[in-house]
């Protein structure tokens, strides 16, 4: 932590360095190519288009809300999968993973079947409260949550499994019930894993396209997120689609860097 040079790091072993460099190259080179191809002169024009700012705001908002919902619902689910001894956990875990595999468009259709006007719950919501969910911003959040939450659940469960359960025993002897233990011991201990899961979830939600356009539709200002705007731009003018993508990338990169900085600041305080 101090400023002086550390002679410690004996370097990264070659069998790790080579694939790691390959991985970075593989993931970053396409982004670089996009940047090279970006018609920068268009950037200013694109950014000042009213729809773009709107779509960007809506994307950030709905992805963040979806992440929040996923945290509130998904972390407890991960805990149940990792720590409880209920029967059928294996099947439950597989069931939770499966939405990852569903083509997002079909996921959107499935959401209609539940929450649409004719859906299992949707019909009841409509008739009882006059609530219709599709084609609203709520629908965007729901679609993104449906697609992104499994990522959070699976990675938080992995972190919970890897954590030392004896700390939880120690908490129990100090009078903490399972809920208090969860809040005050388990959660802070697996914070890095939860952070990783939340990043995955947020990024996946931010990039969500298929389920959103199916279930929420595409209306500027209420349901048109950046990926939808990008897709539509691609239909007419691929160049501007690239510009929009780069904007999306830049914003999410900035967000991730800002967030990570804070998390790392916290994580760095621990040993």
């Amino acid at each position: 932590m101090r400023g002086q040079p550390r002679r410690r790091d004996p370097g990264i072993p070659l069998p790790l360095l080579v694939p790691a460099v390959a991985a970075v190259t593989f993931l970053v080179l396409p982004l670089v190519a996009l940047l090279i191809r970006t018609p920068w002169s268009d950037l200013a024009t694109q950014l000042t288009l009213p729809g773009v700012g709107q779509a960007l705001r809506l994307s950030l908002l709905s992805a963040s809300l979806a992440t929040a919902v996923s945290l509130v619902l998904g972390v407890p689910l991960a805990w149940v999968l990792a720590r409880s001894r209920i029967r059928g956990r294996g099947v439950l875990r597989a069931l939770v993973t499966v939405p990852l595999v569903l083509p997002p468009v079909v996921g959107g259709v499935a959401l209609f079947l539940v929450l649409g006007r004719q859906g299992i719950l949707g019909r009841w919501l409509d008739e009882t409260f006059g609530l219709t969910i599709p084609f609203t911003t709520t629908a965007v959040v729901i679609a993104e949550t449906f697609v992104a939450m499994p990522f959070l659940v699976i990675s938080v469960e992995g972190a919970l499994r890897a954590a030392d359960a004896r700390y939880e025993e120690a908490a129990a002897t100090l009078g903490a019930d399972r809920w208090t233990t969860f809040r005050r011991v388990t959660l802070p201990l697996v914070a890095p894993g939860i952070a990783a899961g939340a990043v995955l979830c947020w990024a996946r939600a931010l990039g969500e396209f298929g389920a959103t356009i199916t279930f929420a539709g595409n209306f500027p200002g209420t349901t048109q997120t950046m990926p939808l705007a990008v897709y539509l731009a691609l239909q007419r003018d691929p160049e501007s689609a690239i510009v929009l993508s780069v904007v999306l990338l830049a914003v999410s990169l900035a967000t991730l860097l800002a967030l990570r900085g804070r998390w790392l600041g916290r994580a760095g305080a621990a040993p």
Binding site: P134, F135, I213, A216, N218
Partner: protein
């Protein structure tokens, strides 16, 4: 006109054989809405030319245009609109001028039984209905804007779909009361969707162009496929699928 395509790819992919039959592989890039008709026409061409293998790459027209400009080894490009064909011709990748082989007009699609009692284009101004149109960026959306302008209607859609199929899916599920889609889609959707024609549709006709590509590895077969599409037989198949023929 495949003289400049005579590179190594041509010989390896085959060409016209001596008895006039075609051989090798023919790769057709076609808009996804042509899946059924083109698959049948491809089967027919294969039956006529036992040495020929017809491969399709069905996707959105814009994806196909991107692939072609990125050097995809395609012989034929059939686009669902002129704008994506223009992308290809502008890049100098079309061999000759594209030919329009079909066209399509808008129709109102409503769920089975027409629960909202939609009768014509004017209903797209009703606030209480849940309505879908295509986004202005895609051809059917541009066409919708045209017909609304022609009819002097201020549409109040709830969603601007990214393609016709997405709009139609919502009609099929009964989630929207009406959507403005292409006539062919109504035909393809079968019983779960009813179509309502309207006169303003003729103000916005969407055309389907096709062309042989400059770098076509199998230019002879490509030309044969384009010819088949433009033939009476091909036109009849398209008409069966709800297309207006050229």
């Amino acid at each position: 006109g495949s003289d400049d395509g005579g590179d190594t790819a041509t010989s390896s992919s085959g060409s016209a054989t001596e008895d006039g039959g075609l051989s090798g592989t023919l790769t057709v890039f076609a808009a996804a809405s042509l899946t059924d008709v083109f698959t049948d026409l491809g089967d027919q061409l294969e039956a006529d030319n036992p040495g020929l293998d017809v491969q399709f790459n069905f996707a959105g027209s814009s994806a196909l245009a991107t692939q072609i400009t990125q050097g995809a080894p395609a012989d034929v490009f059939a686009s669902a609109n002129t704008s994506q064909m223009t992308v290809v011709t502008d890049a100098g990748l079309a061999d000759g001028d594209p030919e329009v082989f079909a066209s399509n007009v808008l129709e109102i699609a409503v769920p089975e039984g027409n629960p909202a009692d939609v009768t014509g284009l004017a209903d797209f101004g009703r606030e209480e209905l849940t309505l879908a149109v295509c986004a202005p960026e895609v051809p059917c959306g541009a066409a919708a804007e045209d017909v609304f302008a022609a009819a002097g209607i201020t549409a109040v859609p709830d969603t601007q779909e990214e393609d016709v199929r997405a709009a139609l899916t919502k009609v099929e599920l009964g989630e929207v009361d009406a959507a403005l889609v292409y006539a062919t889609d109504v035909t393809a959707a079968g019983d779960s969707v009813e179509g309502i024609e309207f006169p303003e549709a003729d103000d916005a006709v969407n055309t389907y162009p096709v062309c042989v590509l400059t770098d076509a590895p199998n230019a002879a077969a490509a030309q044969a496929f384009v010819d088949l599409v433009l033939s009476d037989e091909g036109q009849a198949a398209l008409a069966d699928a709800g297309f207006r023929t050229a």
